[in-house]
């Protein structure tokens, strides 16, 4: 059991405000991912939850109990550090059993717990080794094992996979998700990698400059980003943005005059914006298609064949680059002139403050 609640939590380092009034509740057994660019405050927020960093303002509740002043080891949370933070002079078994030994647990009981964790994490063959004799993936597992043996209510991970190579990262991602299911514990996972966030999270918290930009399920964030920042951060390659102005609007469509001179029609707004409003149009790369006729026209700049799909970089007359995602059989060539049209009427509109006005999603 561990549900967490953050109420207007803030953090000041001297006169620098690293976290600005975060409100968040995390349900028991939820897998929550904090994602955001480097320096946005993810680690700070996680460390405040862990108890390693003082909470400057606001309240943290763990299982309904006010926990601001509870020392880290009494919060029932275990943390896995980005650097793994293994004790270099101890063997794997000693690393995993250290907390239990310090707590005065009998030897036999420690051995049993360490053995069980080692079995789950496939660390049995290396129990007698020192950390420096392990591979990156094994070190990572030891760090997780050290957390598991304490039987915590919740796990905190700070970019645990960022030191691993790409293949291992994908594998550990899957193992962590399985572990979450097996342990039935609350997990908070910090990453700057939106793909990790999308693939692992029950819910994603997008942070930017110490502010929570949006909280939601991965698909919710992808389809209904609350603002320009989330729209640009979630999804790879990035959503294409076009500044423009409303020319005409009614309940069935908005007609936009883009800054490059093109006219663009977005179907079906919920409440039509006023004529003349400055807007930003957002279209994901896969929501464009190359058509004989379309509102945007340009020249193919670069073609990237990724196997499954093809990314086409189209340079518009205005000089802006638009990324289009097409299928693997795309035959476009560099230098070709192409027209782009919306696929299935999908597009998003953001007002001048960056907040989402409307996501066109027919059906």
């Amino acid at each position: 059991m561990a549900n967490l609640e953050l109420r207007q939590v803030g953090k000041w380092y001297g006169n620098y405000e690293a976290i600005k009034s975060v409100d968040l509740s995390i349900a028991d057994r939820e897998f929550v991912v904090f994602v955001g660019p480097s320096g946005c405050g993810k680690t700070t927020l996680l460390r405040m939850i862990a108890g390693l960093e003082e909470i400057t303002s606001g309240d943290l509740l763990i299982d309904g109990v006010h926990a601001n002043a509870v020392p880290p080891d009494k919060r029932g949370l275990a943390m896995v550090f980005q650097s793994y933070a293994l004790y270099p002079h101890m063997t794997v078994a000693q690393n995993m059993g250290f907390a239990l030994k310090m707590a005065g647990m009998p030897r036999a009981e420690i051995d049993a717990k360490v053995g069980e964790a080692a079995r789950v994490l496939q660390l049995e063959p290396v129990l007698g080794r020192k950390p420096r004799m392990l591979s990156g993936g094994q070190r990572q597992r030891v760090a997780i094992g050290r957390a598991i043996v304490r039987n915590p209510k919740g796990f905190l991970f700070d970019e645990p996979l960022s030191n691993l190579d790409a293949a291992l990262r994908v594998q550990m991602r899957i193992e962590l998700v399985k572990l979450h299911q097996a342990l039935a514990a609350t997990m908070i996972y910090v990453t700057h990698d939106q793909i990790e966030a999308m693939t692992m999270a029950d819910r994603i918290v997008v942070l930017n400059r110490g502010i929570v930009e949006q909280v939601g399920t991965p698909l919710n964030l992808y389809h209904r980003p609350a603002n320009l920042f989330v729209a640009g951060f979630i999804g790879s390659p990035k959503m294409n943005f076009f500044p423009g102005r409303v020319q005409r609007a009614d309940a069935s469509q908005v007609v936009l005059a883009l800054a490059g001179g093109e006219t663009f029609i977005v179907p079906g707004p919920e409440s039509p914006p006023a004529v003349g409003t400055e807007l930003t149009l957002g279209v994901r790369p896969e929501h464009f298609e190359m058509a004989a006729q379309g509102p945007l026209a340009g020249t193919v700049d670069v073609v990237e064949h990724l196997g499954v799909e093809t990314l086409v970089y189209v340079r518009l007359a205005s000089g802006a680059i638009v990324i289009v995602r097409t299928d693997d059989l795309s035959r476009v060539r560099v230098g070709e002139n192409v027209s782009l049209a919306l696929r299935a009427g999908r597009a998003s509109l953001f007002d001048s403050s960056g907040a989402a006005l409307f996501h066109a999603m027919p059906e």
């Binding site: 390693l52 080891d73 275990a78 650097s83 933070a85 004790y87 250290f98 907390a99 050290r146």
Partner: protein, 272 residues
């Protein structure tokens, strides 16, 4: 490039400088094996039959053993005390630094700039009033205080090299500061602790000012031994040289064993 290759001229110059610096010690050692007549002969005698008479005199009649014992006890005890005090101090400074930690460190080191003679009278009076004149206790405490800033600095820089994450992981594991020091810092910083200890022992061994001024026949160290010897026997070069060799030899042997360790300890943090 070119800089990697030493020029023959530079090499020769380095050897000459090294020889000039080493020459007094060499000459002292050579003189110690001469007779008194050979020692004062002019021009100096280079080839002679080495004898041990001067050493015999220094050890038997001048009470070398007592001074050597004092030197060993004072240098080791003061070092141990300094380590015991510096360890928690360096821990606090490295892992729970406050606003003024850096200033405090610099201030501590700046006390080393003070000329010792400036505080000779007060310290002498304190020792006299406490009945500590000519006792090892006084020397142990003074040497400890003298070395404390350096030991704190060295331990501090070694602790700074230990990743903070490791101690934070321990904190999450419910391991308090005392257990962190015993189970994590002590083993992880042991090379640094050894370096600091070696340096403190050598500095305490070589310390002459306080031992000459505060001790006499009972608690004198080898530095006092030479100083006292040079007065009555000042004209006997061979005996004085033998006494000096006896005073310097132990720490030279000790130092050469410790050398590698010391260089590593003193340059830690400088290169990453």
């Amino acid at each position: 490039m070119d800089q990697d290759k030493a020029s023959p001229l530079g090499t020769a110059a380095a050897w000459i400088v090294a020889f000039l610096m080493f020459f007094p010690i060499l000459w002292m050692t050579v003189t110690a094996f001469k007779t008194e007549t050979q020692a004062i002969a002019i021009p100096p005698i280079v080839f002679f039959r080495p004898g041990m008479e001067s050493f015999a005199h220094a050890t038997a009649q001048a009470g070398y053993m007592l001074f050597a014992e004092n030197s060993i006890i004072v240098s080791f005890a003061s070092t141990l005390l300094a380590l015991l005090i510096a360890f928690p101090a360096a821990y606090a400074m490295a892992f729970q630094p406050g606003k003024h930690t850096q200033n405090l460190l610099v201030w501590m080191l700046s006390t080393k700039m003070l000329p010792p003679v400036g505080v000779l009278v007060p310290i002498y009076l304190i020792c006299r009033d406490l009945g500590l004149l000519d006792t090892r206790t006084a020397l142990i405490v003074i040497d400890m205080l003298m070395n404390l800033p350096i030991v704190v600095w060295m331990l501090y820089s070694f602790f700074r090299d230990i990743p903070r994450d490791i101690l934070e992981a321990a904190r999450m594991d419910g391991v308090g500061p005392r257990k962190q020091m015993i189970y994590l810092l002590l083993p992880l910083a042991s090379p640094g602790i050894v370096s600091a200890a070696l340096l403190a022992i050598i500095l305490a061994w070589n310390e002459a000012f306080w031992s000459i001024n505060l001790t006499a026949a009972h608690a004198g160290t080898l530095a006092t031994f030479i100083a006292r010897y040079s007065a009555p026997e000042g004209l006997f070069w061979a005996k004085l040289s033998a006494a000096s060799v006896l005073a310097v030899a132990p720490i030279l042997v000790f130092g050469s064993f410790a050398q590698r360790r010391l260089v590593r300890g003193l340059t830690v943090g400088a290169v990453k």
